[in-house]
Symmetry: C2
Subunit: 159 residues, 2 copies
Amino acid sequence: MYFNELSMTDIEKKDEHFMREALKEAHYALSRDEVPIGAIVVLNERIVARAHNLTEALNDATAHAEMQALTAAANTIGGKYLDKCTLYVTVEPCPMCASAAYWTHLGRLVYGTIDEKRGYQNIERGLLHPRTEVKGGVLKDECSALMVNFFKNKRQKLR
Amino acid sequence: MYFNELSMTDIEKKDEHFMREALKEAHYALSRDEVPIGAIVVLNERIVARAHNLTEALNDATAHAEMQALTAAANTIGGKYLDKCTLYVTVEPCPMCASAAYWTHLGRLVYGTIDEKRGYQNIERGLLHPRTEVKGGVLKDECSALMVNFFKNKRQKLR
């Protein structure tokens, strides 16, 4: 029991550590006036990809943080399957990104805050690969606050 | 009535014409030993993007023909919304590509053959943008034969 508890705490610490790295990416996105979402891919405790949302900069509605992180990770490790990798993302993926994760056979998904409108879980739970382990709510408040403030500011500018 | 019929025939002719262009892309994919799927994006009867599946060449499980065609089209027209565009694709899109089309607010989707296993319609009909018009079955037999033969050959090689 003691070791199990210790190991759980270790995993939680690691998840928070890597979610902080994803949050850094989300802050980069914010500084470029992009929807503030960041993503990291980790293999054997090493970051193999980092990315943030670039839909405005690239003029590409599909340039989500996760899409870029998954592609970059495959490039880094030189293989298209990410079954030994964990994707950390500050906001629950949309169906596009969840399905992209499916095609990569992603090993583990860790997200910060949920996306009530377009999160993949609202739409279809069967989108992820059946072997992908999922954990939500890591640094939820920070991940969520970034999004809430971003859209609050956008709405104020539109007044 | 006469004009309506004429106009329907015209649309069908155009759809077949552009699906042949998508089929050319699928044949390029085949010649590179990629899963033979091709895609074209058309705006005002002009092809603004052409792409084929490159998952093997790019070592990227997300490099589907549609993902590349949508991104290329946005680059060509210099805007991230494709609400005036038609995506022609030889095989029914998967949930990733259907959701990518959602984010682009795609105007119209025309596909050749259905994908019984991972087609977006089997999984979730709500993935496309509500304004996207859909038409399936254009040059269905050619589009389907390419896929069936490809996987038949793959299986024979594995014996």
